[in-house]
Amino acid sequence: MDSHQRKLLTIIAEAVLEHQLTQMLDKLGASGYTISDARGRGSRGVRNADWASSGNIRIEVVCGEALAISIEDYLFKNYYNNYAIIAFLTDVAVMRPEKF
């Protein structure tokens, strides 16, 4: 079966942003997203998930390159300055290109 190139955008952000970020993804037109709970360390210190709001979430979005870039831009403009958040982009292959 054929496989098609897409991008996987992974966002790691403080848990308090979950609602805002999923709303943003809906608005920008992502076909879906997957979230899991995480903890970590970065430039803003240790986030050890001792209680819910002190943890991180990990959001994955499979999408086209254009959308991935506009999500990253949105994050850059609205979140990178003030929140514990990172994002990175990977190449992925999917079987059902119409889904993403």
Binding site: E14, V16, Q20, R44, G45, N48, A49, D50, W51, A52, S53, G55, N81, N82, Y83
Partner: protein, 312 residues
């Protein structure tokens, strides 16, 4: 010492010595839900006996206090502490708002001395959570159009603690003393045990907060140790003026002297994101909370005794 405080101490020591002891976050959630519901239910059941009309003027006075406290804290932080406007406003909001856990420990303190307090104290607790946060946000941004008031009021009025406290109050008030009977074993009999476990976890969290303390320097430590006492004094004076009992004065002092670590951080993270969240959390959880449960509560009780004696 009250056993629940020993549990806090156990958590604190375990945390400071980097023990691997940890309560799962789900358990922390369960315990805090139980505490909030218990406080609400107890208050509601008591209120069921009483005429409600009389408390409205008191509520108003308490709201005014909730607005004034952050206005007092802000200049201290801004000019003595030389903190940024956002950070000063954020910390002021935390200290104007209240800590449910400190309130619960104070209730346990009064219970174990069989000291009564007014049934509507949990209403004060609910009411005091919000105004200081609003004032703090105004201090940070002025009446700017940027603030998403919709989102903010959602965050404030539909936050976990408000919903559970008000929900508990209403349910308790509706079902009254007999209706509550079958719920007593879970919500009332286990109260102290649940509080003990909760404080164990709070000790662990406070210990982890103290690790970031040195980064923030001496001013924030001094602020977190010194501001509760005058604030509590304001609270007890107001309590006196409102004609509260010794128990009621103590609790209002505790509310004034305690600092929020649930509602305020969540609301300010969304509305004043440029404020450093660890600064206010370290102060409130790492210093003020332990200070209050070890030294503050007995001190504020003594305030209440003395003031109540003067007036009557």
């Amino acid at each position: 010492m009250d056993p629940v405080i020993l549990f806090f101490l156990l958590g604190l020591i375990a945390g400071l010595s980097r023990s691997e002891l940890r309560l799962p976050p789900a358990i922390y959630e369960l315990l805090s839900i139980l505490l909030l519901l218990t406080i609400g239910l107890k208050g509601g059941v008591e209120l069921a006996h009483q005429p409600l009309l009389g408390i409205f003027p008191k509520l108003l006075a308490v709201i005014v206090m909730g607005c004034v406290l952050p206005l007092l804290a802000f200049p201290v932080l801004r000019f003595f502490g030389r903190l940024s406007r956002a950070d000063s406003a954020s910390i002021a909001a935390h200290y104007g708002s209240v800590s449910v856990a400190t309130y619960a420990v104070a209730v346990a303190f009064l219970n174990s001395r069989s000291i009564d307090f007014e049934a509507y104290m949990p209403v004060f607790l609910v009411i005091l959570e919000i105004p200081a946060i609003l004032v703090g946000i105004l201090l940070a941004r002025g009446i700017s159009r940027d603030t998403k008031w919709g989102e903010l009021s959602h965050e404030l009025f539909l936050g976990k603690s408000i919903v559970l406290l008000i929900g508990g109050l209403l349910i308790g008030w509706m079902v009254g003393p007999e209706g509550i009977e079958p719920l007593k074993p879970l919500f009332f009999d286990l109260f102290k045990g649940v509080l003990a476990l909760f404080l164990l976890e709070m000790g662990l969290i406070a210990a982890s907060q103290t690790r970031t303390l040195k980064r923030h320097g001496a001013f924030i430590i001094a602020f977190a140790l010194l501001i509760p006492v005058p604030f509590a004094l304001i609270g007890s004076l107001l309590g006196c003026a409102l004609g509260l009992s010794v128990g009621g004065i103590t609790l209002l002092a505790v509310l004034a002297g305690s600092a929020s670590y649930i509602a305020a951080p969540a609301a300010l993270r969304v509305s004043v994101p440029e404020a450093n969240p660890t600064l206010s959390l370290t102060a409130s959880l790492g210093i003020t909370f332990p200070f209050n449960i070890f030294f503050g509560i007995p001190l504020y009780y003594w305030f209440a005794l003395t003031l109540h004696g003067q007036w009557s």
